[in-house]
Amino acid sequence: MDYVGRLTAHLPMAPRLVLMKSDGSVSIHADDRAYKPLNWMNPPCTAREEEDVWTVTHDKSGEKLILTIEEILHDSSHELGVDPGLVKDGVEAHLQELLAGHITTLGDGYTLIRREFPTAIGPVDILCRDGAGGTVAVEIKRRGEIDGVEQLTRYLELLNRDPMLRPVRGIFAAQEIKPQAKVLALDRGIGCVTLDYNGLRGIESDVPTLF
């Protein structure tokens, strides 16, 4: 493979994986470094096949990727269709669902009022009652940082204007709470709870425990 353009590069003859995608791009991979090709040509470009030599020319810059093919080990073409997109883990939503289902994680006697409790400035993750019957607003985060505490503070201020609900206490629940966020939360009288995602999901670690 030879690259001719702003700089020249050469890859010696060796077994390679050559990917030609439907956008026209061509990339040459080795058997390592995951998604990273050894060399490639970005679209828009044109590939021209001449016996054992493929020439991929960039439509604008004219840079060239010249592939000399000695032997084809495997040649196949697949239609992948429309990409459905990457689905994010959704841990936060899942944590909300799990915590609502195991509301006593927060303490004995806690009962759920509802998830996504609506307020004028957006829904509160969980509204529940503690063992003594007091209303508790819970903000759930994967990583508990300052802005999460601020968000909960705004909700609490609003909820505490409602004579049917007040007094409303806050609990900041996250898989991991940053020290700064903890200081701010405790200073505002907001409780902090560290959530065990795997524990809530009922996934036990494979290390045996005493109980």
């Binding site: 701010l184 045996p208 425990t209 005493l210 109980f211």
Partner: protein, 373 residues
């Protein structure tokens, strides 16, 4: 306010009090250390969870009180020459003079400083060295994970003259029994004390012969425990929650009992564990007269070491997390370690050999790991 004091005495008291200064003070005055002089000098710090008050004898010229940055005062007193220190106020400034050095510090508004929680009612006293070693033995097994706050505490059970300390992180459980001198002979109390605070406190109160322990009654509100000894007193808030029923975790009967020299055993575990990758165990095989330690498997580095051991009962092969095993061996405080086994999947009990120093007061229950893990 004006007084003179020996530099070493002052530096030690300030350093001890400064341990409780909050790392991130939510209000500026909490970063301060309160110096209060009447007949003695009292130094106070407080972070809403833990309070500390140290007092030392000083030559008082003029009583008074002042609040200064605790960290700065600690750093200054630590680096002063070994000469008498004179501290005095001058308007809104504090002057610390020692030999040729003179520091002028800004004061914080002392009237904004929160009042320290009162010491709960005195419950009894215990020898400070015994207490420090007992707490050290138990606190090692406490959890450090905030997802289970209950396990970050040391359970303190008081029943008359007997005190039981216990902590567990679910992988191991450490229990220590000791006797103390209660104020009332029929006292019965339970507390869950943050393990880290308790360990630090117990270690730092060994300057006096005894530590007085004060436990607030469980009449609602937030529980509090206080410790006092050698002119230092500290209080800490208790943890809430149900501690696991730890006594039931100990096996009722065991099938084999091994005895090994603690020091050489610990050394061997450390050596063999060098090849144990993260989360891989050290495997122990006990047979008559011999213990074989192994770590590492298959295509990784491996280590084997054999040593002398006595065994009563069935031969046993069992695997442990090396660090947890070492923690237990370090904590038993005995030359000979006794290991009680049921089976290779049931928890093992590590104790010292009773007799030499009453090592039976302490039990360390350790959950084994799967042998072929």
């Amino acid at each position: 306010m004006k007084f003179r004091v020996d530099r070493d005495v002052l530096a030690e008291a300030v350093a001890w009090t400064a341990r409780t200064l909050p790392v991130r003070p939510p209000v500026p005055v909490l970063a301060g250390m309160l110096l209060d002089v009447d007949e003695r000098l009292r130094l106070s710090s407080f972070d809403y969870e833990v309070s500390a008050q140290g007092s030392v004898d000083v030559d008082v010229e003029e009583p008074g009180s002042v609040l200064v940055s605790g960290r700065l005062l600690a750093e200054i007193t630590r680096s002063l020459d070994s000469q008498p220190v004179e501290i005095s106020t001058d308007g809104s400034k504090v002057t610390v003079a020692c030999g040729g050095a003179k520091f002028t510090l800004l004061t914080l508004p002392a009237e904004d400083y929160p009042s320290l929680p009162d010491m709960p009612q005195l419950s009894g006293a215990v020898g400070s060295d015994v207490f420090a070693s007992a707490v050290g033995q138990v606190a090692v097994a406490a959890g450090r994970d905030d997802t289970l706050p209950v396990l970050t505490g040391v359970r303190v059970e008081i029943e008359g003259e007997k005190v039981t300390l216990a902590s567990t992180d679910r992988y191991r459980l450490a229990v220590r029994e000791l006797t103390w001198k209660p104020q009332q002979p029929d006292i019965s109390a339970i507390a869950l004390v943050p393990a880290k605070t308790l360990a630090d406190t117990a270690k730092s109160l060994t300057s006096g012969a005894e530590v007085a322990i004060a436990l607030s009654s469980e009449t609602g509100g937030e529980g509090m425990i206080g410790f006092e000894g050698g002119g230092r007193r500290t209080t800490t808030r208790l943890l809430d929650g149900e501690f696991p029923k730890f006594r039931a975790l100990f096996p009722n009967e065991t099938n084999s009992l091994a005895e090994v020299q603690t020091g050489p055993f610990a050394e061997a575990v450390k050596r063999v564990a060098l090849v144990a990758e993260r989360n891989t165990p050290v495997r122990l095989a006990f047979s008559q007269g011999e213990l074989v330690l192994e770590a590492g498997t298959g295509d990784e580095a491996q280590a084997v070491e054999s040593m002398e051991a006595t065994l009563e009962g069935d031969d046993i092969k069992i695997a442990f997390n090396p660090q947890f095993l070492l923690d237990g061996l370090a904590a038993i405080d005995s030359d000979v370690a006794r290991l009680h086994f049921t089976t290779s999947t049931k928890p093992a009990v590590i104790t010292g050999k009773p007799g030499d120093d009453g090592g039976a007061d302490y039990r360390y229950l350790l959950m084994p790991v799967r042998l072929n893990a």
